[in-house]
Each structure stands twice: as structure tokens, then as C-alpha cells.
Subunit: 334 residues, 2 copies
DNA sequence: ACAGGAAATGTTATCGGTATCATGTTATCG
DNA sequence: CGATAACATGATACCGATAACATTTCCTGT
């Protein structure tokens, strides 16, 4: 109880200076092996717990990597985060996670907050940010990685893919299988830039392929998921048969739409094709399997880790852009 | 560029002492309102960024709440985490997240690491820990909350529910609808205590209700999800019809099993009942809807937030146990 | 046995805020 | 108008680890 055990206490107990204890605990080879062992032992006995805060303060290296995600409640982002975690495991770096709830204003606030912790690198999801935030980050001069997007004017490194290209794959595929009355199912226009980019991608692709205008089905404010897809289709009723393909903003939405369509007795894909986005597990397992786009969430995480390692090993300063691409994954719904 | 801007620099620019700047930035009312505004302005102009590390060091309050989750890649845990995040938003506390990958040994290591950051509270998922970890945490004397479980010997506060009771609900329901050849689908016996508790819960409940022995279907090492459920049933083929109910360790597994069963032409629930666990979105949306148990992931998060607020407001020291309960949610698969 | 260098350990100052106590300055009132 | 309180600001020390430099101890070869 009482006061906390510090290196000074350990040093006293061992009969050495705090400096030696510091070195010993960091496994500094200039400290005699026997001393090192003894220090370890005594530290354990005293219940000493290393203070990373003091270290971070003194060395001006926090050991933190700040990460922003739109939401942790999304299998794809979660997968990327998992890859980051496991890739950074053992490197002595800690992830500092924050969620933006798909809003750039919230992102700005979050990043300001994260920066006060002195992170050694900043990993952002998406390439859309407020001007103020860009300024803050730039002024800080710390390594930045934007992921899940290919921003036109990157802040630093980039690991992502083109949402527009991905949507083009889908539209091209639908066109080639004879569909031409497309509807896009996504979140209401609002703060969710990612959804907006996908929507625009579909519209542009449709135009390019000579299709009539794409209908917009609004599944509510972001984030939208299975139940929103199901609800909006349910509300439409048989009206939905007016279209011959539902292009959904994500796999969960697609799955939701599909179940609603099936419940009303329509057949997928005979009456209606359905496509998703993201290659979520549900797309692979659903009945029928959902045609989707694989965006390789895990690969993004791994690439970010590789970049981070390079950064901390003091490698090249020039910002790198890595396009992990995306590929159409044919299912049975189209 | 060059050196970083500190309070000293701001103070100099304003023509006041660092102490006044410190107070001004914290909105200390003893500082003249005009001065406060001016300090704010100058700090902004200079691009000053507050250093939480220094603050944490000096005040010995990190502003961190450490949280361990088995995996962020699980909609339920993610939901709890989201509730924690949004509940703590604006309180000046930062969540420090770590994943245990469902292994207590990993949890111990993780907690040791997290403790070096001086968290002001520790939120653990689950009630199974290594002895060493219990000792470390106890010795530290910081507030602890265990969630998602009702441990027999809690480390501190508890917000959870009884997994055994929940499984009993399910088994009782299956029995009451005439099923008696049960099989449990879950992860291999191993480090995943949560899965083990559910399995044992089913076995005990079956015995209590006078059922013959419950068969065990091994979907592979934890964590198991949709595709593992689908794969193991697919591998069994029609053999699965030997049972009249599949009790699955989670909704995703249940969904995977169901799709596999349906693909081989069997009917759910006519040929086979299927139950899940967790009230995941997929259970509500799937076709047919999956009978499951609602464990109120979000409520757990909210309750934890309430406890934390109480702790930081210096309230009652006696550990509290909150049972958020669980309830059977009837679907169409049983 | 001794110079010279390697190995092991110690001393001092410091990172950027802020608790604490001290001091100066401006209202308030009999 | 002088005393006293209310308000505003400042000086000093310190949180716990460690970089940088200094010193001591122990070998090694001749």
C-alpha cells in the first residue's frame, strides 16, 4: 500500500544506483549479467511496476501509435485493427484507438485529443479531413498513414484502394450479365464520405456504361447495416422489383436487403441481383453467396505495419502510396 | 519547425508566467477572463499542443482507462466497447484497448503492459485470469471492473450475466418444444474460457432436464465464426440429421451452421432446430430468424460507464456486482 | 608489476506541466 | 482613509526515468 515503488526503491534494495537499475531492466548489456538478474529479482519481489509515463516524458517517445477508425463495430475495420495489433505486438508500441463515428468533425476533435498524447505516428482511416485538421497534423510533422482510400492530396503515406474503381468492377459485371435497372442502397447523404464516394462511383460507372440513371435507396443515416437494409426493402415492398439489381454499400446491407427480398417471395438472383461490398464473412456464407468486392482489410493492416516498421527504423522519408487494389468476388446473387 | 512549442513559449509570448498559462488553458476561473482569452489566442497562434504526457507524469493521473477484450472482431464486444467509448466521451478519459485473443496468458501479459501506463481503472472482459495476474492487479490497488461474466471470486466490481443460466434458458426451451437429441457446436477445448463455460452450461442443463448426453461438434480453435460453423456442418454432411437441435456457441456460428444445413436440402427448423447466442444482428435478419439469447452488450458497456463515473466521483468503495441478465429471444429456428 | 583499455557503475541535469505556497493588486466597507 | 478581503499572478520544487558524461573496477599483455 502506501507509496508506489520506484526505481529508486529498487536501487536502494539492491544497493546500486537507479541508473544501473534502469539499465538492468532494459537489458542493457553493459550491466553485469549477475547484477541484471539480481535487479530483476528484487524488482519482482518489491512488486515494482515500470512507469511508461515517466519514460515517455523523459525520452519524448510515447510508444503510442494513434489510430482512428470510423467505427470499431464494423468487421472490416475491426479486421484491419486486428492486423495492426498483431503486427505491432512485441514491438513495444501501443495502439491508441479512437472512433470518428464516420464524421470528419469528430475526427478533427479526436485527432487533437490523440496528439496531446504525443503519438509517434498517426494512422487515419479515409482520406477526407477538415482543413483545420490537416493543418494541425502537418504542423506536427509526425508520420501519417492514411488507409482505406486513395486521397487526391495525401498527408503522408497511403495504403488503400480506389472505391470508385471497385464500384466500377461491380457495375461492369452487372452490365455484362444483362442488368440495367440499378438501384444503389446506402446511407443518407451526410457526413459519411466513404459511402458518398461509393455512391458517386456507381453513378459514374453507370453513366460510363450507358445505363439509365441509378436509383437511390436511402437506408438511413450512417452507419447502416443488415437491419437497415432489410427495413428499407421491407418498407418498399414489391416495388423493389422495379429494379433488376441492388448495388449495396456494404455486404451487411446487401445481406439485409437479400433476406427482405426473399421473405417477400422474390428470388435472388432470378428476380433481382444483389451485390455487396467488403467481402465480409456473411457474403461468403449466406445463401446464396453474395457477389462482392474484396478489399483485403487484413492486407491493409499488414501493409500499414510494414510502413510503420520502416518509419521507426528510420527509413525513407518520401511518402509512399500503396494500392492494395480490390477484386470482384463472384457469388450467386448476380 | 525546430523545437516544440511549450507552455513556457506561450507564457513568454503573452508576457506571463507559465503557471498562469497552465491555469488559463484549464479554464481556471481564478485567471482573469480577458487573460484567459488572450492566452488561448496566443496558444493557437503559436500552434501550441498540450502535452498530456507531462500532465500525467506530474499529476500521477494518466487519464487512461485500460480495457481488455478477447477480440475487437466480435460484434458483441465491439458493441460494448462502443458504448464505453461514447459513454466516456467528454469525460477527459481515454480508453486504452488491448486484445487477449481469448487467452488468459496473453491477458496477463497485456495487463502488465497496460499497467505501466498508469491507468486509473481497469476493465476486464471475463472472470477467468491467471493467479499471477490477479496478484499484480490486487497489488496495484486500482479500481477493477470485470464484465461479461459473473466470476465466483471477483477482483472488484462486476457487470455481467451468467453464461450457464443463459444456456439453461435455451436448453429448457428446446426441451419444451420436444427436442432431445442435442449437439453443441463450439470451439475446441482450449484456452477460450467463455466457450467452455457455455459448453458446460449446456451439458449441465441437459442433465438437469433429463436429456441423453449432448454431442460435441468441434468447429476448430477459438475464435469460431460463421465460416467455421458452415464448414464443420458441411464436413458432416447428412450425418447432422442424427440430431434434432444444434446449440451453437454464438449467433455467427449458428448462422453458418444454418446455411450449411439449408444447402444440403434440410429444413430449419423442421428437420433441425438451431440456436445461437448473443443476439447479433445476423440472428434478427437471417431467414429464418435465429432463436438466441440477448446478452445486452450495450447495456453492459453503459453500466460499466456508470460504475466508472461513480469511481471517479469518489463514491463507495465496496465492490458492486450488477447482473444485467439475459433473455431468450425466440426466432424461427426452434 | 604496470600501462592501457574494456567493463561496470555512478552523478547530474532534465523532459513539461502543476501543487503549493507566496506575493502583489484591486475592490469593499465601516 | 486605512484595513481587510477578494482577486490575480508568480516562484519554487517536483513527479520518475534516462541521456550524457564521469568515474571506478577489473582485466590483459608485456
Amino acid at each position: 500500500m502506501s507509496a508506489r515503488v520506484t526505481m529508486r526503491d529498487v536501487a536502494q534494495a539492491v544497493g546500486m544506483s537507479p541508473m544501473t537499475v534502469s539499465r538492468a531492466l532494459r537489458d542493457d548489456r553493459t550491466v553485469n549479467a549477475k547484477t541484471r538478474a539480481r535487479v530483476r529479482q528484487v524488482a519482482d519481489d518489491l512488486g515494482y511496476v515500470y512507469d511508461s509515463t515517466a519514460q515517455a516524458f523523459r525520452t519524448q517517445k510515447s510508444g503510442f501509435v494513434a489510430v482512428t477508425l470510423p467505427s470499431v463495430n464494423n468487421a472490416n475495420f475491426a479486421e484491419t485493427f486486428r492486423a495492426l495489433t498483431s503486427g505491432l505486438d512485441g514491438s513495444g508500441l501501443q495502439l491508441l484507438l479512437g472512433s470518428t463515428n464516420y464524421r470528419v468533425a469528430r475526427e478533427e476533435e479526436l485527432v487533437r485529443q490523440l496528439l496531446t498524447r504525443n503519438p509517434e505516428a498517426l494512422v487515419l482511416t479515409g482520406g477526407h479531413h477538415t482543413e483545420a485538421m490537416r493543418a494541425v497534423v502537418r504542423g506536427r510533422g509526425l508520420p501519417v498513414i492514411e488507409m482505406w482510400d486513395l486521397p487526391a492530396d495525401p498527408l503522408g503515406h497511403v495504403v488503400g484502394f480506389s472505391n470508385a474503381d471497385a464500384m466500377d468492377h461491380i457495375v461492369a459485371h452487372l452490365v455484362s450479365t444483362g442488368r440495367h435497372r440499378l438501384a444503389f442502397v446506402g446511407a443518407s447523404e451526410g457526413a459519411d464520405m466513404r459511402g458518398a464516394v461509393r455512391r458517386d462511383g456507381v453513378v459514374r460507372a453507370a453513366r460510363k456504361h450507358g445505363l439509365p440513371q441509378v436509383a437511390m435507396i436511402d437506408a438511413g443515416p450512417a452507419p447502416v447495416s443488415m437491419r437497415h437494409g432489410a427495413a428499407v426493402i421491407e418498407a418498399m415492398g414489391k416495388e423493389v422489383a422495379r429494379y433488376d439489381a441492388l448495388v449495396c454499400v456494404s455486404d451487411p446491407v446487401a445481406f439485409g436487403c437479400m433476406t427482405a427480398v426473399q421473405r417477400m417471395g422474390l428470388s435472388v438472383p432470378d428476380d433481382l441481383a444483389i451485390t455487396g461490398f467488403g467481402h465480409f464473412e456473411v457474403a461468403k456464407v449466406a445463401n446464396p453467396r453474395i457477389t462482392t468486392v474484396n478489399v483485403q482489410a487484413e492486407a491493409i493492416g499488414r501493409q500499414v505495419v510494414t510502413l510503420l516498421q520502416g518509419i521507426f527504423d528510420g527509413e525513407g522519408e518520401e511518402p509512399v502510396t500503396i494500392d492494395v487494389g480490390s477484386e470482384l468476388v463472384l457469388g450467386e446473387t448476380s
